[in-house]
Symmetry: C2
Subunit: 325 residues, 2 copies
């Protein structure tokens, strides 16, 4: 029997879907992406995936591919379904593992996108060798993968680790999930933009001389919109309002982390995703608020670490690792 040399990893995000062909050493030999929101029907999405991957599969030989691993928001490892994902264009329950298996005629495996990233970090990244850690993705939404005794914790329903939907602020901002005050409405790329808009509207009214040195306000006044990246660049350039926006975001994140630590007692918390790229701008206030809210037995023990992996690689590698398992 021919040895399988490759697997395919697919990382489905609210905005982008990244995928690649990965060998056993973790080298990605082919990589491409799709805009997730373009596909109103999951069937069209799977067809587009297949079209983009066909040439690469043919090149290495289909018989050398062990299978396809998929990381997706609300992906359920047990059922193979994407269930009620707030940040995807597809509503209800989508049997994506079966759809991919049928389309590619290859074994397929599906889990939560954050769980796939946690597997990637554990195998190749900042969590290498760790037995107990939390992986948190700060992207369009907030996800988490929770590893104890060196194994991903899926829980009874396969949905453990939904830290993005822990209530950070009781009766706070409305969330895509239909509830209020979820961590993801504050500590995601979307959440920090909402915070910026709130702060900027407020600042527009009580414009004071401190604002002379700002450049975030002019950006907002010109375009009537800002992006998470613009807030980051403004903070880096010394804009005090941008720094306040990051402090506020980090504080809410840190308070919620303290509660997650009380339940899971991790060695470290690894941060991944677009907003995590802001590094110390988000992690310094998060660490401060976490420490202030930690039970004494946990204080000064838990590291907050930005991911060491290239963003799209980690999720692809993690998803691909699902197929090896």
């Amino acid at each position: 029997m021919q040895e399988k040399e490759f697997s395919i990893g697919i990382d489905i995000g609210g905005t982008n879907t990244d995928f690649g062909l990965v060998n056993r050493r973790g080298d990605i030999s082919f990589q491409d992406n799709l805009k997730t929101r373009t596909y109103k029907h999951p069937g069209d999405f799977v067809t587009a995936l297949k079209n983009k991957l066909t040439a690469a599969i043919r090149e290495v030989g289909k018989e050398k591919i062990t299978g396809i691993g998929i990381g997706a928001p609300n992906g359920n490892v047990y059922s193979g379904n994407i269930e009620l994902a707030a940040n995807l264009p597809w509503k209800g329950v989508i049997p994506l593992r079966q759809m991919v298996k049928d389309a590619f005629a290859l074994p397929a495996f599906l889990t939560n996108d954050a769980n796939a990233t946690a597997i990637g970090e554990m195998t190749y990244g900042a969590a290498k060798g760790m037995q107990d850690f939390l992986l948190i993705t700060l992207g369009t939404g907030v996800g988490s993968g929770f590893v104890a005794n060196g194994k991903l914790i899926y829980g009874h329903d396969g949905f453990a680790g939904e830290l993005g939907h822990v209530t950070a602020i009781r009766d706070g901002r409305p969330c895509g999930c239909g509830r209020r005050g979820c961590l993801e409405t504050y500590a995601s790329a979307t959440g920090i933009v909402t915070t910026a808009i709130e702060f900027l509207r407020q600042e527009g009214i009580k414009f004071d001389d401190r604002m002379q040195q700002d450049w975030l306000l002019p950006v907002w006044e010109k375009n009537n919109r800002v992006s998470a990246k613009e807030i980051y660049l403004a903070a880096r350039a010394g804009d005090p309002l941008a720094a306040e926006i990051f402090d506020f975001t980090g504080k809410i994140l840190g308070q919620t982390l303290a509660d997650a630590v009380a339940i899971t007692s991790p060695k470290a918390i690894i941060f991944f995703g677009g907003l995590a790229k802001a590094g110390a701008y988000i992690l310094t206030p998060a660490k401060k608020a976490m420490e202030e809210n930690l039970l004494a037995i946990f204080k000064n023990k838990i590291e907050l670490i930005p991911s060491g992996l290239v963003e799209r690689d980690a999720a692809i590698l993690g998803a691909a690792a699902l197929a090896w398992q």
Copy 2:
């Protein structure tokens, strides 16, 4: 080599310490208790334990005892220490496993009291056969044991499952741990008494005709104190203020449970301890608030179950089971 037939289980609580001699089938052949707070020094406590157990050990023969399992607040399975326990009379770090081992000249094992109870429930109680569940103790304080894939989750430091110190109300009531708003300041026997006092003080001022049918207020006015048990008896007798106190307590518990579910995805949550004996009075409002705050993927799936075991038995059995493992 002679087969070991017995183990000793010791459950240390903020108020009472229960202990017993247990055989492999889970029968408790000797059982006694101590008032924990009587012993200002842990050395005196261990001496008192030994005095109370000596006759029972001599009777079955020390050579037939495999070891001693201890469940204690903030008990650390890795170090064998009780570390910074807010509800015990002993401050700092107490090397209790070593002290018990030396005093009895028997192998000793120590873990969190709630973890020991979770082992008891998993072996003999409501969680028998469950792979993924939360055990929550509602006693003097609030503790929890978190089981995933059929194993207790201890986390990196051995302190996973400190649900009692998850922040239920931001900047809420001061807690023995030095922080504010911990679940245990609301959803413990101590917490519900605090709530009752707050409600009764308020009611004393705005005494209305609804209060004519109450008996909780007269109890309070006579003694200037109420107990958790009196609140429960009043609720059972139809006292509307007592029902309100339980509804308030259950609501805060349920909101926090929803967050714990998002992280751990349990099949069920088992309730144990003094306040859990109030059954539906606490669990009905808790279930309602939990469901209102659950992410859609978890709704109507998770059972809240009162412990099926006699209270002091479960913790003794769980602690004793530590020694068998």
